[in-house]
Amino acid sequence: VTKATEVLQGTLDLLILKAISLGPLHGYGILLRLQQITRDALQIHQGSLYPALYRLEHQGLVTFEWGESDNKRQAKYYKLTTAGRRRLREETEYWNRLSAAIGAVLNAVPEDV
């Protein structure tokens, strides 16, 4: 059994943005999608999704509307705003640059120096 990695501080927001960029989701749906994409490699405190969602909503990055879920219940569906989409793009670029840089450092062998 591979051990689930704790989500890094501050990256949960980015993950949520990415999850709902693929289509509107309710809170539980976001959890499912994240688990599905990461194949359960990341451990997410389920309840912590909600403060994060409210924070994103507060910052105007996501918005929501009420819709009907698969089990015929009213649920809050979150989707990205324009500002959210821009933020996701910026954060993604930043992550890519950062991980490439850190990867390069960590994979360095004596010959490279």
Binding site: H26, G27, Y28, L31, H45, Q46, G47, S48, Y50, P51, A52, Y54, R55, E57, H58, Q59, G60, S69, N71, R73, Q74, A75, K76, A83
Partner: protein, 890 residues
């Protein structure tokens, strides 16, 4: 963008709180159910599925709290709790709350009141288009700056379209306006062509003046009236257009009504009638003759005021060189031109009252500071009493910032409670003050209303006070160390804070002393003015002011009126003497004329001018002015008798030194109208223009021998056998019975006339006294609060002392001594501050200086007495401590 979103989200969450909570509930509930359903689908038993869903979700209450926090709601929740707590605390000590709210209401209210007056008089921009680009063009010389102009000068300026986009001139006056047979004085103005266009003032009804109205010799005379006048005199009748009104005996047709907010350019004085300048242009066509005609211009875009000023200055110098003969007027007023900003209107009222208002602003600022120091002291004492509670809260893990915030909330609540009655007090008070402004210029149209400027000022002041009186105590309160507060008695931690309390009370005494000294100085100066020998008797004289311009009292009709009326008035029961005069003491009029004293070579320009007063027989008897030498003007001095004159002491001394003035000759006037009079008497010096003096060079001539004395304004004066106020109605009725059309302006006692010249002094003295009394009351509260607290803290100590044999009287003295020590220290510091700062009052004071020793000592004594009285009750309490009870408490 982000900020807007956050504000919006915060407001939505805060205002629709219950909906937000419900949504949060629903959402999390949905999550749990969906998760449980998934688990069930994988074969987990229902009860187990629900349990696991809950477990995986984590602490729901914690996530909800975090959710609220991420919307910024935590602050709101805490604030709400703080407010509830503060309200409860304040309710528990109603005495403290009442004292605090009352002193804040007075402090903030007084500040708002004076600010609102300063604002309407001095700072508020005119309700016209772009007031900031308006400038006023004035002339200046050795005697200062005046609004002098004539029509050719205006036209020359108006031609400078390279400097000014608009330029207009205004001639203001009080006119006799006749509507439906009744004549009344109305403030009005003649304006040149671009007045309304330049200011962008529109008519709400009809039209404003058009270029055609301004052509010289226009056949029809038209007038625009103010909204207030329209409402007042025509009841807002829409048919007013086309109505004819008679202004100074000339008919004008009303063509429009201006917008309600527009009052003209003179703050406090609404121009009710506006007419084209062309009507009077011919009177001001001589470029060598200058009258009071304010000129206002709008600077062309891109033109600096400095550049315009330089160009206009050069123009004036050329103009004056070409057209004005050299002499006193030219040297005193026409040496240079000045271009001044005029965005808030020109204001005679402003010039007269703004120094006083600024002084009052300083006084109320000081008062508020005293109130704040007082409250800070009380709060320090109270927080010390609460140190146990605060210690517990710190020990339980409350942050210091959190506690400071809570204490500040309490202060803010106090401040809000004080501000609301304060603003009401301010509106009432400032309008009351306006009622005291004398109506020199016809009815005043000033009023203070609760506008955004006043509101903004008040909020600013209230916020500053919160920080001032709440900040120090709140900070100080948290310096308590949690452990000793819990373990031991209070004594370990209080010494420091009693020290702070003492400093605050002493500071309060010092500041109060400054205010009290200032008030005492103003009151004593006022008393000096009331007592000063003015050279005439202030009591028992009634004045009837006649204002003839615009009436048909002219020439022989006027002379007859002046001749016969004094005799008729003197025949009234209880009237001892009656007379007529061009001016009476302190009525504000000047009548300077060119003179030449035979045998005296003038040493300078000043020597050829003196005040000339045409008086009837018994003038000197009516005013009780004694003769120093010779005889007064009397019945002998008829129109056909040799021309006689009486001169003032100052006149005699100035021209004749020690030798007698009797028999000397003086020529009054120049050229054809010149006339020579022979001095028959010297009258005692009279404070003619101001009670502050100095003596003036006055020539009294017989009113009936004067051809040139101004005939349009004059006064009748009566000496009555009792309080002249009782003759007001009788005198007016008698004049109107004999002459129903007589232009009587006002009937008033000489005392009233004098008091009008003392309005400013009276206002400053009475307001100053009021503020000083409030400051003294606050000082008393401050000392009392501190000592009451100190005594309560010391009860065990006092108990021990008493048990060891100390006399109760010693405990009494020990407490009172503390109060006296505080008063002494505060007063000492205060005396130094007062001596250094109250110099600004010197120009206002009469008969004493700002560092007057008696006044300073008096103020110090007053404060010491207050300290004694306030210390008395706590001292008695200290003496009454029962040693047994006190020690048992320990």
């Amino acid at each position: 963008m982000k900020l807007a979103a956050m504000t919006w989200s915060f407001l939505r969450a805060a205002l629709r709180r219950s909906q937000m909570e419900r949504e949060m509930d629903d959402e999390m509930q949905f999550h749990l159910e969906a998760r449980a359903a998934d688990l069930r689908a994988r074969g987990v038993p229902p009860a187990e599925a629900e349990r696991r869903a809950r477990e995986e979700f984590g602490d729901m209450i914690r996530w909800k709290e975090a959710g609220r926090e991420s919307r910024g709601l935590r602050l709101v929740d805490e604030l709400r709790a703080d407010l509830r707590y503060a309200a409860r605390t304040l309710r528990r000590s109603p005495g403290f709350t009442l004292a605090a709210v009352a002193s804040l209401a007075l402090g903030i209210g007084a500040n708002a009141a004076i600010f609102s007056l300063l604002d309407v008089l001095v700072m508020k921009p005119l309700p016209v288009r772009e007031p900031r680009t308006l400038v006023q063009i004035m002339t200046a010389g050795e005697d200062g700056r005046i609004e002098a102009a004539n029509y050719p000068w205006c036209q020359e300026l108006a031609a400078r379209t390279d400097l000014f986009s608009d330029l207009f001139a205004v001639r203001q006056n009080v006119f006799k306006v006749q509507i439906a047979g009744r004549v009344e004085p109305v403030a009005g103005q003649f304006v040149t062509e671009s007045y309304f266009q330049a200011l962008d003032v529109r008519a709400v009804h009809g039209r404003t003046l058009m270029p055609d109205d301004h052509r010289e010799g226009a056949s029809s005379r038209v007038a625009v009236i103010s909204y207030g006048f329209w409402q007042r005199r025509f009841g807002g009748d829409l048919n007013v257009l086309g109505t004819s009104i008679v202004v100074d005996r000339h008919p004008y047709t009303i063509v429009g009504v201006t917008a309600p907010e527009f009052f003209g350019l003179q703050v406090g004085w609404t121009m009710d009638v506006t007419m084209p300048f062309a009507v009077i242009a011919a009177r001001h066509n001589d470029p060598g003759n200058w009258s009071t005609i304010p000129i206002v211009a709008r600077l062309k875009a891109g033109v600096e005021r400095e550049r315009a000023a330089a160009e206009v200055d050069a123009m004036l110098k050329r103009f004056v060189a070409d057209h004005v003969e050299s002499g006193r007027f030219r040297r005193n007023y026409l040496q240079r031109a000045e271009v001044q900003p005029v965005s808030n209107g020109f204001g005679a009222l402003r010039d007269e009252f703004s120094p006083s208002l600024r002084l009052l602003m300083a006084a109320v600022g000081l008062l508020l500071l005293i109130a704040c120091v007082n409250l800070a002291g009380l709060l320090v004492a109270r927080n010390t009493a609460r140190h146990r509670e605060l210690g517990i809260r710190l020990a339980l893990g409350a942050g210091r910032g959190r506690i400071v915030r809570q204490l500040l909330t309490e202060s803010a609540l106090l401040s809000i409670l004080g501000t609301v009655p304060g603003v009401i007090f301010a509106l009432w008070g400032s309008n009351l003050l306006i009622a005291f402004v004398p109506e020199y210029y016809g009815p005043l149209t000033l009023s203070v209303t609760a506008d955004t400027r006043l509101l903004g000022f008040t909020i600013l002041v209230a916020s500053i006070t919160v920080l001032l009186f709440g900040g120090i105590p709140a900070y100080q309160a948290t310096r308590v160390a949690a452990a000793p507060a819990l373990s031991g008695g209070p004594r370990h931690v209080t010494t420091l804070r009693i020290g702070l309390g003492r400093t605050l009370v002493a500071a309060q005494f010092a500041l109060s002393l400054v205010l009290v000294t200032g008030a005492l100085l103003l009151v004593r100066s006022m008393m000096n003015l009331a007592r000063v020998d003015a050279g005439f008797e202030r009591d028992g004289v009634l004045i009837v002011q006649i204002d003839a311009p615009g009436s048909d009292y002219e020439g022989e009709k006027m002379r007859q009126f002046q001749r016969e009326m004094p005799a008729r008035l003197a025949a009234l029961p209880g009237v001892v003497h009656a007379t007529v005069a061009t001016t009476t003491p302190l009525n504000g009029n000047e009548n300077g004329r060119r003179i030449a004293v035979r045998g005296v070579v003038p040493r300078g320009d000043e020597d050829v001018v003196a005040q000339v007063n045409g008086v009837g027989p018994s003038y000197f008897a009516v005013f009780g002015i004694p003769m120093v030498e010779g005889r007064p003007i009397d019945e002998r001095d008829t129109a056909n008798a040799p021309s006689a004159a009486v001169v003032s002491e100052t006149f005699a001394r100035h021209y004749f030194g020690a030798s007698s003035a009797l028999g000397r000759e003086v020529t009054i006037g120049r050229g054809e109208s010149a006339r020579t009079v022979q001095i028959v008497g010297v009258a005692k010096e009279v404070r003619f223009r101001s009670l502050r003096g100095p003596g003036r060079r006055v020539i009294y001539v017989s009113q009936f021998q004067e051809r040139e004395v101004q005939q349009e304004y004059f006064e009748f004066a009566l000496r009555t056998a009792g309080d002249p106020a009782n003759w007001v109605a009788m005198a007016r009725a008698e004049i109107l019975r004999l002459r129903p059309d007589a232009p009587v302006l006002q009937v008033l006692t000489l005392r009233n006339q004098i008091n009008k010249t003392l309005t400013r002094e009276w206002l400053l003295a009475s307001l100053g006294t009021f503020f000083a009394v409030v400051a003294l009351a606050l000082a008393a509260i401050g000392v009392y609060g501190l000592l009451a607290y100190v005594v309560a803290r010391r009860v065990p100590e006092i108990g021990v002392r008493l048990a060891l044999g100390a006399q109760p009287r010693m405990m009494w003295w020990m407490t009172l001594r503390e109060s006296l020590a505080l008063a002494a220290v505060g007063t000492g510091v205060g005396l130094a501050i007062a001596a250094a700062t109250l110099r600004v009052l010197n120009s206002l004071l009469f008969g004493l200086s700002a560092t007057d020793g008696v006044t300073l000592l008096g103020a110090a004594a007053l404060l010491t007495i207050v300290g004694l009285i306030a210390g008395f009750i706590p001292a008695r309490r200290a003496a009454a401590v029962d040693p047994l009870v006190a020690i048992r408490c320990e």
